[in-house]
Symmetry: C2
Amino acid sequence: MMDKLRQHIERIVALTDEEFAFIARHFSSRKYKKHQYIIQEGDEVKYHYFILKGLTKLVYTDDTAKEHIVSFAMEDWWESDFLAFYTQTKATMALICLEDTEVLCLNLEDYKKLCDGLQKMERFILEKANFGFLGAQRRIISLLTSNAKERYEQLIKLYPNLVQRVPKAQLAAYLGVSRETLSRLNQ
Amino acid sequence: MMDKLRQHIERIVALTDEEFAFIARHFSSRKYKKHQYIIQEGDEVKYHYFILKGLTKLVYTDDTAKEHIVSFAMEDWWESDFLAFYTQTKATMALICLEDTEVLCLNLEDYKKLCDGLQKMERFILEKANFGFLGAQRRIISLLTSNAKERYEQLIKLYPNLVQRVPKAQLAAYLGVSRETLSRLNQ
């Protein structure tokens, strides 16, 4: 199980066995069933999650109780309500499993210990943060410039595996269109 | 001029004089006039920019030649076409001065040297990257959930100084509304 984490980190920085043993000590693992909440709105957000297996959605619910999908995450992705995690405030979003999901959990104290104790880990986290920022910026540009059909095509191009696994109703919510509209786009 | 950079970094990590001297050696400075392009679409993107003074807009131009403002940046903010910078590909966005602007420039090689040579600098850059990601995620949520009036109000609340300085036509472009609509929101 930890092998997957090591492979994932070693795509960015090479590790000795000692270094990986140090890293692994800071993670704990958890399993969730499909439909289960990993984070509920209003919760304390204790962890940054590395997804070993499964698929999640990060959901923001607006004042009219409408759900908006901020992001999906699957194997080898990191996910959390990061604002709540970093600032130790209550969750403003929910993280929900779309499949049975296994995660590795890193709390804020251990996150800091890892960064302090091993510069390679900080490098790895920085690369992931930059990658996350670029993904978010791409989504902003997509929301600013494209209609639902174009956004759907971009999503298929960038994340073909994701699109196949995500239920159609969830994809429609992510794109901000009705299920019927998505069926039309899909033809 | 470098004092501002030091103050900015020391909000996150304390530095000795030697450490700051090491950091300062990696930056060069440049001045631009209002309306000047810091980055033009199709350019190589050599630098990550720290804005000492002034105001910029990062612009994405779509296939129909319509301009979309991805972000504004002003004093103490970092800006670039980050995807092009990190991947050393051609710019897909333009970075344009809305006021006379002074920047400090950091190229990719020096960015890496700074991260390798001084873990405090890597920590600082990681904090900024996380902050950037959270800002981008907030903008995504805003685009998903809010109409132009609400987005305008959120912008005023988060960045009151920015809203005062940005020309109304530019604010309208950022919000994705016409100038006339913005005037109505403004009443």
